[in-house]
Symmetry: C3
Subunit: 426 residues, 3 copies
């Protein structure tokens, strides 16, 4: 799978994505080869809760000509050079006027920063601090931003994959970031490939909802259209972001702090990972800010590699292909899929013999061998399943008591159901 992920990464990388525009549509088209997304469009000017959908932004070209005619800050070479949502300009200006519109990172002098100005109209360029230091203070510069900022649409991609029930598992990732890797080509790529694994499950208890949206305003649009329904139906939810670099897993809890999302991810981390970090929700970061706003308070968490804010390459040109690796990205897909499998398996069961243990031997649930070490794990699982399947404990609760990965319950559970010592609770 990781070779395939890399191929898609390479195709998506150069596209200029922002919160609106053709780059978003083009990216969704490519991703639709992996996950059959439906594109939805919200017109500029639409009111969504406290917000208004902004104009659509498209860029043909952007650069600066130095007094000696050298082309720098070339958008075609690296789309980070242009402040996102820059208004059109084509003008000669002095050094001192120019630098009002330049953004650099003095602390990381070789990095181009990532800057946006969605809600205030202006233009600007981002260059490395070293390049900035070499600029001549004399002579005339030419700035060219061949962009368009006009009424159009905000575009997002959506797929709802039905299951046996209307209870939903929700995934969101954002497709508004230009050429950066961990934040944020890793999220859309991981989610597209995760879809393929979920779609291939022979049976699905849950309905799965996938949203590929621009950050913040996209999430707000999405909630404006689906929020009430999602409040009623969402069993668990996840924001996929920052999941491509080689690091342990970091889990940011949902605002509720004890949702089934938190419970399943924490079980996964404790039982399968040797090292990991878990932190409480904070109202910063990504789209969990909207999903976990107090009016919705959805059970949405985020399992990441190195989270936003916590790596120096974050929001710079150094968050590039060499910062991530496709084995780690695939590992993130696998982790999410493991979690999904737990959610699909999980449930409440009831012991049909509540008084004392059932006699396992007469049902072939006990080994007839006299060297019980062989089947100790199987017996232990069966005893845990039987003792705690009292209507109070779901499988995750039971596996937490036993201290093993709940996926190990799949076969013993099946046998207990076949033998009639357990029945599923409605």
């Amino acid at each position: 799978m990781k070779e395939q992920i890399e191929q898609y990464f390479d195709r998506l990388w150069p596209i200029c994505r922002s919160i609106t525009g053709n780059g978003v549509r083009e990216s969704l088209d490519i991703l639709s080869e992996i996950i059959p997304l439906t594109k939805k469009e919200i017109p500029s000017g639409s009111q969504v809760f406290d917000w208004t959908v902004p104009k659509e932004w498209n860029v043909r070209d952007a650069y600066i000509l130095t007094p000696t005619g050298q082309k720098i800050a070339d958008f075609k070479k690296n789309n980070l050079h242009l402040v996102s949502y820059s208004t059109p300009i084509n003008q000669k200006i002095t050094y001192s006027d120019l630098i009002e519109h330049l953004h650099t990172l003095p602390d990381q002098p070789n990095a181009i920063p990532y800057v946006t100005s969605y809600y205030k109209e202006r233009w600007g360029f981002c260059i490395s601090h070293n390049e900035f230091l070499g600029l001549s203070k004399e002579g005339e510069y030419t700035v060219v931003v061949d962009s368009e900022l006009s009424n159009g649409h905000l575009t997002y991609g959506e797929l709802v994959l039905p299951g046996d029930t209307s209870e939903e598992i929700f995934f969101s990732t954002y497709i508004c970031h230009p050429s950066m890797a961990n934040n944020e080509l890793s999220g859309p790529l991981a989610l597209a490939f995760l879809y393929q694994k979920i779609a291939s499950l022979p049976k699905r208890k849950y309905t799965y909802r996938f949203a590929f949206i621009p950050e913040t305003i996209g999430a707000i649009c999405y909630l404006s259209e689906n929020g009430e329904k999602m409040k009623a139906n969402t069993h668990a939810g996840f924001v996929l972001t920052c999941c491509g670099n080689n690091d342990i897993f970091h889990y940011k809890r949902s605002r509720r702090g004890n949702s089934i999302t938190d419970k399943v991810v924490e079980h996964f981390l404790v039982q399968t990972q040797t090292d990991y970090s878990i932190r409480n929700f904070r109202p910063d970061g990504s789209d969990e800010r909207q999903y976990c706003s107090p009016g919705f308070n959805l059970p949405v968490g985020s399992l990441m590699r190195t989270p936003y804010y916590e790596y120096t390459q974050y929001h710079t040109s150094f968050d590039n292909k060499s910062f991530i690796d496709f084995e780690s990205l695939e590992g993130s897909v696998d982790a999410y899929f493991h979690i999904i499998q737990i959610l699909e398996l999980n449930g409440h069961f009831r012991n049909t013999v509540m008084n004392c243990e059932p006699q396992l031997g007469k049902r072939d649930l006990y080994p007839s061998s006299l060297s019980p070490a062989d089947s100790r794990e199987f017996i232990d699982i069966v005893l845990h399943l039987l003792n705690y399947s009292d209507g109070q404990h779901d499988l995750i609760d039971i596996a937490n008591k036993q201290g093993i990965d709940v996926l190990k319950y799949a076969q013993p559970l099946k046998k207990c159901l076949e033998k009639g010592v357990l029945i599923a609770e409605k």
Copy 2:
């Protein structure tokens, strides 16, 4: 006391105990010299919840003759040599047929393992792995199991010692293990001697129920006869097992995890022991599996020395007299008795002067000496008793707050009751 315990140990040691049979009856007769047990018998074939009482098993002799006529695996020398519930046989067989029926422990080459086959009829012998390695592969072996497996009874011993109320404290121990020491002559011996201490109390608030039963099927029989009543009446309960070797105390909580049994034992351990371990309930181990099955969920825990599974001598011939010591066994009796004294003392009381402190001086509850260090502990206890006797806290809660053994409250409590600043709550 410990000399007496040792004498009984020596008498009980050689008897072949199993889940039924004359060895059980004989053992109960000997224990009845210490605790006046009533023997109860359940016929083979009786249905008890999901189980059926098995046939009764008795053995007269069992051994193997080697090709050279040497008698090995001699049941009369060590009753562990015979797989418990072995069917009768008297036959000449080859080495290759014989070894299908031999059990050894390659990792502990000098130990004879303990093996049973209650619910599948077969025969077998247990020998040390070193003895096994020395067996000739040529010639003819003779196997003799002079046993009987026929309809009879399952036998257990019971005593109910009445107290002022019908609320019960329940003790269970198992009398089905052949010649092993920590698991399990320590439990029956400790419980028998604990009975003597409880019986000698001048006053008993609780009724005490003692069950000396074969493991698993005996507990299931016992619950089949008494379970509903025990659900209604059991205040606290304990399985006595593995309490004879020289180790710190290990407490396995009841399934409820916060029962009064758990509360009193944890208070005892924290306030009186420098080192100890506490673990949650697991549905393995001993008869707590039945008492804490979800249909009963009795408040039954187990205070042990080194628990089953956790010592290499467990279920082998090395769990013998030299593995235990009678001072530790007596210490276990003392610990249980300390716990019983706490349960008898414990209760809810009410301060009759709720607004501000009562004036202790005018009631002779405050020292008239001006060197208060002398009676600081007494005053501290009285202040804690008065402040927290508000109907919400029992004595254990109060002593936990103060951080001392609740038995230290006996005298100050008595004085406060006499002076009328405290009254007992119904």
Copy 3:
């Protein structure tokens, strides 16, 4: 401020304070220069809950003349030399009779102990153990206690400073201790100066109640007069004691353990102090014993420097001016005032845009600068305020989640209220 505190310390130090008497009145008069206390008097013999107000005690002089005519244990030099509430005497006695009435501290041979006998009439002197060892066993001693123990009054000082609501914050300190510094001139001094800071607040949500009382019997009198009202109105409360020496803060929780008093002090300690200690309520110590008696159970805690019992100078002549320092005492005043400011700021607010985040930019709540590092703290606070202002969380809860001092919320909160994205909950 600290010079002023020191001046008052020096004036109050020599006065003989006890639970009644002219020393109490004189001390209250001096303190009234800082806080305009009203003096209240309860007649001797009054019944207050389980107690009776004792006789009033006044001393003119007290000393011992040695056989050689040397004056020792001179009350006029150090009022600790006389056991508090000593009855009058003027008599010649032998060494062996004298020593029945002498109190020393063998473990601290240079310290004069502090001893009282309020409820049993007797007389006694306190001297250093070294002085005691030098006393001649021959010849005649003269003991003089020129005291009066007669019907009079118990006197205390009170001030109620009204606020916008009838909900009260209660402060208590005790004015019964003779010449000692940390325990207890520090408490009355800190409280008097704290009053000045509270009185200078431009606005007060809470009414403030200040009690300067003799310990134990004074608190009981005070509750006898005000207790029912205080049960209804007390939002938070504090006993000020032992707050003058150079040590970290030690907080003793209210009996409730989770009162707003506990919550605010623990927030203050965690967010502003690098080192501190927090302990649960115990029914010993000072007047929290009465305020937290089960009938009242007021939310009264105590923030101290080194608590009573925990320093060797406690209740001896070594708890003097050199044991404390006025910077630490002023620091205690500041700490209490910080806590008061938190309580005044604290409250529940409600986000008026519950679905998704409000758009901060259009309300000037988001920086228009593209270098967001500048205003990251402001934004973080606003996001926390908005997300958690759901009616469930007060400001302290929110600041605990964010991990910063809640006083940093004052300005952002004001802006959010002005912009209408937050409204105060009733």
